[in-house]
């Protein structure tokens, strides 16, 4: 028994086993939630590499497993992230109880979480590129439930993500060459171009972002939101692991250009796209583009000198508001989609009057993505904007313009939803389970927004543990 077996092998077997039980939807979801919660709390409490005594029995759980000469190591730095991954998986599976998503959502989602955990703890970390590709293949199945034809967005998603993998694998080889000949400037330029292409494809950086609004329009909202969350967490973490391995890259001017330019382009593209949007699903897609852009801009604050490194905490702190807002947005879209069958604005006129709870949750989720005061997204947006304002004001303006674009797009969506004659009564036709989830989401979005000091220091600590920066102040 060792840590990778517990946090990869065990849930992997559970995920496979759940496929045989998909006809018992609630049971599958309950097992998925239970398993994810158990693993999340075990990773916090179970001591690794030290003697555990239960009565007369004593044993040690090693933190690594070797497979074909490569290691999977669950060290102290990774543990808080693995906790977060399994906790967020439990959150999504719990949310799926109230929606009518494909019954395979839980086993596929658990499989993706297992692969993501593997990608996080594999050494050498470049193998993570292949593991992420396998997770992408599962995401494709998740995005195209049976009975629906695959859309072009899904095919484009598969194409871009698969194209990114070879570039990343080749960079690993190139960088080992640079370590042998540090003065080879031609090779360094090749690395910069290949890395920009590889990470650009994986991170859906402009101009490889087109699949996101397409998938958001075509796929079931809850499934697509789960995949977007996966992309927003897995790929940047992989990028950070990459920088940690080749930490001399931190001082490269090319890195600033990549993060700042791609972040700038994404927030502007997302903001403009959201402003003129006429489909609620696509609006979510553009919100995700802004979110990825903001993540890149947040990461740009942490590169350069080693004293900047704690700023990665801003990027890590974006996880919590994003996951709650994304969950609320996806759930409310699922409920609205169920009642109308379509998410194009012409078909949504006045729907908010029958789905008041869903509309309220959706409105708060949009405002949180915007970074509106008193919502979960506000505190960290404020930190990001002020940080960017000091170092690179143009990027700060772009991030604010992106948020304003999303705000305008969101207000248009809300206006369409609540439009109607005064005599038409307001009601909420959602089920009791949906009402409970909406209430939870609304409370969380406001609670985190009002009391950020209860949550964000923990996320900053997660970043410091992950990057082994306990000695640095930030």
């Amino acid at each position: 028994m060792n840590a990778p077996l517990i946090w990869i092998g065990f849930p992997g077997v559970i995920a496979l086993g759940l496929f045989f039980l998909v006809r018992y939807r609630r049971l599958v979801i309950c097992i998925g939630v239970g398993c994810s919660l158990l693993l999340a709390f075990l990773v916090l409490w179970l001591p690794l590499e030290s003697v555990i005594r239960i009565g007369p029995i004593s044993f040690v759980i090693p933190e690594y497993q070797t497979i074909f000469g490569r290691q999977f190591i669950l060290d102290t730095g990774n543990r808080s992230l693995v906790f977060f991954l399994y906790l967020s998986a439990a959150f999504w599976f719990f949310g799926s109880l109230a929606t009518h998503v494909d019954p395979r959502f839980t086993p596929l989602g658990l499989g993706i979480t297992v692969l993501l955990t593997s990608a996080l703890i594999v050494r050498p970390f470049l193998y993570a590129a292949i593991i992420i590709e396998i997770a992408v293949l599962i995401c494709v199945v998740l995005l195209t439930p049976s009975g629906h034809s695959p859309g072009r967005g899904v095919l484009r998603f598969l194409t871009f993500q698969t194209l990114g993998m070879p570039f990343i694998l080749i960079i690993g080889w190139m960088l080992s060459g640079i370590e042998a000949n540090p003065g080879d400037s031609e090779l360094f330029l090749h690395v910069a171009v290949t890395a920009a292409l590889g990470f650009g494809l994986l991170l859906s950086v402009f101009p490889f972002h087109t699949w996101i609004p397409m998938v958001a329009e075509e796929a079931e909202p809850f499934n697509s939101a789960f995949v977007f969350n996966f992309i927003c967490i897995a790929i940047p973490l992989f990028g950070i692991n990459f920088l940690e391995r080749y930490n001399w890259l931190y001082s490269s001017p090319w890195l600033f250009v990549f993060f700042r330019l791609s972040g700038f382009l994404l927030v502007i593209t997302g903001g403009l796209g959201a402003m003129f949007q006429r489909h609620l699903g696509r609006l979510l897609g553009y919100a995700i583009l802004i979110e990825i852009g903001n993540s890149l801009l947040a990461m740009s604050l942490a590169i350069g000198v080693v004293e900047n490194r704690p700023n990665f905490g801003i990027f890590f702190s974006m996880f919590l508001p994003r996951i709650i807002s994304l969950g609320a947005w996806a759930l409310s879209m699922s409920v609205i989609h169920k009642s109308t069958g379509d998410l194009a604005y012409p078909n949504l006129t006045g729907v908010g009057r029958q789905q008041a709870a869903a509309t309220l949750a959706l409105s708060l989720a949009i405002l949180s993505f915007v970074g509106f005061p008193l919502t979960a997204g506000f505190p960290i947006r404020l930190v990001l904007w002020s940080g960017l304002g000091q170092q690179f004001p143009l990027a700060a303006y772009a991030a604010i313009v992106g948020s304003i674009g999303l705000l305008i797009g969101g207000l248009r969506a809300i206006a369409v939803l609540v439009m109607g004659t005064d005599g038409k009564p307001w009601q909420s036709l959602a089920s009791r389970g949906e009402h409970i989830l909406f209430s939870l989401a609304i409370i969380l979005i406001l609670f985190i927004g009002v009391l950020p000091q209860w949550f964000f220091p923990q996320l900053f600590r997660m970043a410091r543990l992950f990057l082994k920066l306990e000695g640095l102040s930030g």
Binding site: Y127, L137, T144, S146, G147, P166
Partner: protein, 210 residues
């Protein structure tokens, strides 16, 4: 010239013809047969850098990929499959013939890729220690033709074939850089995964439209 050298040149020619056949053919049977030939050529080019047993993994994986796609498509005529795919607006009374310009355009694109590859291949030989000219040419050619295929196609089967062709080219070049067993295994899983995903997408496409 030694026997292995002749085999490598033969593999290179076979890979080029097969990749061109995938690009211009609309019959799925020819396309899958060509894919199998690409994997055979890949095996021949990879065996130069790897042991025979590890290189055989590539061949077996390739044949399994072909088998998965073939089984998922069997039972459907090319005409039925074309009718399911949006870009082809062929009525049920029309034979599934594509215009000459369709093939000519793709061949011209392939020719342009060929010119670029021929000019880049010697550079790759200089940069990557241990790579032979045949490996460099074969890898880049398959990668380029796969990329072209992806850029001109939007149908499920064509996208999957394009991705597999592209990965085959990449694997030839990467075999010189990395000889790890775990990477070989994971790349085999990726190839099989793409074909299984393709088979799944194809089956739900038919389920959704018929």
């Amino acid at each position: 010239m030694e026997l292995f050298g002749i085999a490598k040149i033969f593999a290179l020619i076979l890979a080029t013809i097969a990749a061109l056949a995938i690009l211009v053919s609309i019959d799925w049977r020819w396309s899958i047969l060509s894919l199998a030939i690409i994997y055979l050529a890949e095996f021949t080019l990879v065996v130069e850098s790897w042991s025979l047993t590890i290189a055989l993994v590539k061949l077996v994986t390739g044949l399994m990929v072909g088998a998965i796609l073939g089984v998922s498509l069997s039972g459907f005529s090319t005409k039925t499959l074309l009718l399911l795919e949006e870009p082809y607006t062929i009525t049920s009374n029309t034979n599934p013939k594509v215009p000459f310009s369709f093939r000519l355009f793709r061949l011209l694109l392939a020719g342009m890729v060929g010119m670029v590859v021929v000019s880049f291949a010697p550079g790759l030989v200089r940069v990557v220690p241990g790579i032979s000219y045949e490996q460099s040419l074969g890898g880049l050619l398959l990668f380029g033709l796969g990329l072209i295929h992806l850029s001109v196609s939007s149908q499920t089967l064509r996208v999957i074939l394009g991705l597999l062709t592209l990965l085959a080219g990449f694997e030839i070049i990467y075999s010189v850089m990395e000889t790890s067993t775990l990477v070989t295994g994971l790349l085999a899983v990726v190839n099989l995964g793409i074909s299984l995903t393709g088979a799944y997408l194809f089956s739900i496409n038919i389920e959704g439209k018929l």
